[in-house]
Symmetry: C2
Amino acid sequence: MIHNPTILDIAKALGISKSTVSRALAGAENVKPQTRKAILDMAEKMRYKPNYMARNLTKSRTRIVGVVVPEFINSFFSRVIIRIQNVFEQEGYRVLITQCNESWEVERKNLRLLEEAMVEGILISVTEKGRNSDYYRELAAKGIPIVFFNRAEKGIEASQVLIDDYKWAFFATEHLIGVRRRLGQEKPRIMHFRGPDNIDLSGRRYWGYADALMKHHLSLEDDLTVRVKGTSREDGFMLMKGCIEKGNVPDALFCFSDHLAIGAMLALRQNGIEVPHQVSVMGFSESQSALVTMPALSSVAQPLEEMGETAARLLLERIENPDAGIRRVILDASLNIRGSSNPEFL
Amino acid sequence: MIHNPTILDIAKALGISKSTVSRALAGAENVKPQTRKAILDMAEKMRYKPNYMARNLTKSRTRIVGVVVPEFINSFFSRVIIRIQNVFEQEGYRVLITQCNESWEVERKNLRLLEEAMVEGILISVTEKGRNSDYYRELAAKGIPIVFFNRAEKGIEASQVLIDDYKWAFFATEHLIGVRRRLGQEKPRIMHFRGPDNIDLSGRRYWGYADALMKHHLSLEDDLTVRVKGTSREDGFMLMKGCIEKGNVPDALFCFSDHLAIGAMLALRQNGIEVPHQVSVMGFSESQSALVTMPALSSVAQPLEEMGETAARLLLERIENPDAGIRRVILDASLNIRGSSNPEFL
DNA sequence: TTGAAAGCGCTAACAC
DNA sequence: GTGTTAGCGCTTTCAA
């Protein structure tokens, strides 16, 4: 590797001291305009690039923040991250992105990586609830500000940016009930594919579903709640296939995720069951594929950009002002009704 | 921020010199086992974490590599990146990920960012051909090894990991011709949605298409090649809609990307034209959505994991041995034939 | 307005 | 085996 020019090189070339060069480059006031100009010109000419390691070492700052997400195959986290990057780059920070492949062990490794890289703050969507609580707490105690987004861990001194999963699951379920009733089914059987137990959201979405049934005087039968292991299309397909084989076909299905819903739709179609005429289907989280399916998938859309923006700003605030308190922001989501739930939208 | 323990803290606590601590921590041989043990224990006890900035400053290495991709909303690059990360983390490197939102200006900014972060190597899939050639060349000249993957820039001293786009476009087109002939159409009209001119691959895929037509004695009519601006689903939809309105409906369609193909399929369906019976459709690049469409989309599948692995290894090799030459690796792809092109696969 | 000098945390000769 | 010392590139007192 060729030697990069340093402030000393500039200083020598100009016959001045490196302190002055440092000051000029840092934009300090107390440098004679001529000297400053000479320095800036020379820096340009030599293609000087500051050495961040050295700069950060003296300042004992890194201007790096870390992001930890469960995965980024799906566009969900990618889109949030894009916004996070935008905000931080604008503010002169670098963003270290890590993903865990849905494994909490890898999440732990990633956190360690970020800690060693001396990030000044961490944005995280937790992979599996409860697993790394101790680590989050340790980092927080060490003074590294943390912001949870999308999936938070309870009892940690950290900010949170979430949507109200309970509420939107409730609305989604109500929508399904409404559609089926308009089709003349007074007591529709609304099924729910409940998310994995190790994800916090699963419970909240389930309770939204359950309470909506209650409100509308529908009984919460056991065989209407199906617990999933994974959240992939294949999982959804297999589960629905199983239900069909058992003769357990509902009038509507509300899924923990879009992928589950898409898989379920495929299974229904493969068995000659028509969506939405026979079964209305809803997902959650608005994947890229929601518009591609036939019929298009109804889903709960989360404000991804806003989530990224908010999380980034919250972290920034805490980094620049350590006295800033933690905050909890609940963002609004929306119901995107399409053909998979409502025949009128076909 | 609380003061992190340094090797000096450990040394003082043990009443020895920091050099010895440094040696023990680095795993050097010439440290008395007892001393070593004491040091390691104390480090553990004090929760010592090495300061990478300082370490790298002295070694004038960073052990960071940078990745630059056009986008990561689609799973394509995300999957490649996952593998890249795996390889580098295993080797003790950190990976700085950046994405350009398909803008070459942002790509330039990202390259600058990586350069300033003093990455030891760069993995890049170029956003727009020709735009940042000068910068790639400058980085290469500076001694920063570069590996292009998926989309390369010509004339740069850098390794490349690609698939043979020409060949696979050729095969895809041949497949379409074969299917239509088996359906009794001796002279099928095979249409191509040609990718944007600012992407290198567009031309190569087009030539594969064109040569396949030639080989099978089909004429290359003007209205069979449609140039696209974007590569999104909407673009595909609008283009096909336009064709249909002009009465220009082909017997088969080969698209530059899966998204274009999916959009085109939607337009066909909306106009009551059946896929694949009336029109066979093929995409390229195997998006996540290919299996969700109805019928499932035939496509050229690229070996994403292998691409990531190979690119990472190539870069690693050049980082650890600056004398290692540049290499050009062509990976194999495959044709995934599904219902959108061949009625037998419905 | 500028320079000299110390120091950020660590590594690596070079001594002993 | 271990300690001493210099230095990586930069910022920041403190003097001048």
